[in-house]
């Protein structure tokens, strides 16, 4: 498996560290139901047999956290972007 880092280019699996579900966001700690939400966010991750958005860390490269879309049945890589990309899109910072 080779992952296309948006900064470094396509690199071997060995350079990356896997974390998991890229769609969990840290709940608002001030909400009344914060506890349930944190329990959910930390323990209940997406685990589809198919297309999955996941976080990878380019540990041996540029040290970026990446948001990778990959098929867990075939290991086919569908897309990669910086984890910060969505934030930047939302806040228009380059």
């Amino acid at each position: 498996m080779r992952i296309e880092c948006p900064f470094c280019g396509e690199r071997d699996l060995t350079e990356f560290v896997y974390l998991g579900d890229a769609d969990v966001t840290r709940p608002d700690p001030l909400r009344a139901d914060a506890m349930e939400r944190f329990v959910e966010a930390v323990h209940t991750r997406e685990n589809p047999a198919g297309v999955h958005n996941e976080l990878w860390y380019h540990n041996f490269g540029c040290r970026s956290w990446l948001r990778v879309t990959r098929n867990t049945r075939t290991h086919e890589l569908l897309s990669v972007e910086f984890a910060t990309a969505r934030f930047r899109r939302r806040h228009g910072t380059a």
């Binding site: 498996m1 699996l13 930390v42 685990n47 996941e54």
Partner: protein, 416 residues
């Protein structure tokens, strides 16, 4: 006629032309008392004990492929009960006791072989952790010995004691640990369950659940709808996937674990050895192949195959531990889909949905659990209350914080 040397002799006289199928390859009936999803070791054991212990025989095991096609058929066959936590240790010891009588229980030889499991340690803190674990075992009446380096050397003179990057300081030994013939465990439970009237249905994939109101009362399958008062999931690596048919989200990730076998060589390694300075473990199969494995690849996968980097690092560890196997050849590598939980321990519990029961989250350690898992899941299904030794395997422990984290790795499945 039950299997025995005698029956073998008699059949030999008739050229083995009269053997009956080892288990009935049943067609699904429209309805059962209990349906078990998953024809692996756990599903079949559950069905067997439901019939044997609880007298429930209107039971079906539904297997999407052929029985044992999942992890039961691809694991490295290590059995042991060397656990640390009070929530785990009694369960695995119960399993070990069941292993010890399995041949006779099933009338099928699963080749349980208690040649010992030795976990090597390479640092003081590792020794301390093993000591804590070994003491826990002893306090529960489980055999455990803490060996120093010379003792290990007497047992396994061909390990690297001279030139190791992380010198071997000793090991934690459970002599009653060992291996069992994985496929035979599946066939043995199928054989015995089938004899007690359990329907074993192959090529029958569960694709959904039948709901009436809040409860679940059946399954949709590739071979039609099958109704049942209770449905037990024992689908290991596919737990999240099958649970999602019922809208359940679970604290489980599916990861690939690879395993390897070498060409068959004359006996070299007496028991099971695990390397403490990495993730390598090895034993020798009854055919002579070195059966070994290491860490999971580390990413979610349902592909039943891994990648080259893990193959390399497993061999780096193997050759570092045992320089003698450098010229032994790898014959085959494969992968399995592991149901990794957030604390590395299993779940045997009711689900929030009436009629649906869960047995899963076995990570890479569920083969040794097969008998007790079946025993306890059957207990839960039959009595609607957890078996005492499986009390801790609750689904809500992540919310309550009553975790069973043997390694202390936290909510990160690929670190367990």
């Amino acid at each position: 006629m039950p299997y025995s040397f005698l029956s073998l002799l008699q059949h030999a006289l008739t050229g083995h032309r009269r053997w009956a199928p080892t288990w009935r390859d049943a067609a699904p009936a429209p309805e059962y008392d209990i349906v078990i999803v998953g024809g692996g070791g756990h599903g079949l054991a559950t069905a067997y004990y439901l019939a044997k212990v609880h007298g429930l025989a209107r039971v079906a095991v539904l297997e999407k492929g052929w029985i044992g096609s999942g992890n039961a058929g691809r694991n490295t066959t290590i059995i042991r009960s060397n656990y640390l936590l009070a929530g785990n240790n009694p369960f695995y010891e119960h399993s070990m006791k069941l292993w010890e009588g399995l041949e006779q229980e099933l009338g099928y030889n699963a080749m349980v072989s208690q040649r010992g499991v030795l976990n090597l340690y390479h640092s003081d803190s590792q020794r301390d952790a093993y000591a804590r674990r070994g003491n826990a075992m002893r306090m529960h009446g489980v055999d455990a010995e803490l060996l120093d380096a010379p003792a290990v050397r007497r047992m396994l003179p061909f390990l690297d004691f001279e030139n190791a990057r992380f010198p071997i300081q000793g090991g934690l030994l459970q002599r009653r640990g060992g291996t069992a013939r994985h496929d035979a465990v599946v066939w043995g439970y199928a054989h015995a369950a089938s004899k007690l009237g359990v329907d074993i249905v192959q090529n029958c994939e569960v694709t959904g659940f039948v709901r009436d109101g809040a409860r679940i009362s059946g399954v949709q399958t590739s071979r039609g709808v099958i109704r049942a008062a209770k449905i037990g999931m024992a689908v290991a690596g596919h737990t999240s996937h099958v649970a999602s048919f019922a809208g359940l989200r679970l604290p489980i990730e599916s990861h690939v674990l690879q395993a390897f076998v070498s060409e068959a060589i004359k006996p070299l390694i007496p028991g099971v050895v695990t390397f403490g300075a990495g993730h390598f473990y090895v034993s020798q199969s009854d055919k002579g192949g070195l059966v070994f494995g290491g860490d999971i690849d580390g990413y979610n996968s349902y592909a039943q195959r891994g990648n080259l980097p893990m193959v390399e690092s497993v061999c780096e560890e193997g050759v570092s531990l045992m320089p003698a196997i450098g010229r032994v050849r790898m014959l085959r590598s494969w992968g399995g889909v592991m149901d990794m939980t957030m604390d590395g321990s299993p779940i045997i519990d009711r689900t929030p949905i009436e009629g649906l029961y869960l047995n899963g989250g076995w990570c890479y350690g569920g083969f040794k659990a097969t008998p007790a898992s079946g025993w306890c899941f059957a207990h839960l299904l039959a009595r609607d209350e957890p078996h005492p030794v499986a009390r801790a395997y609750r689904l809500d422990r992540f919310a309550t914080g009553a975790l069973l984290d043997e390694k202390g790795a936290g909510a990160q499945p690929n670190l367990h």
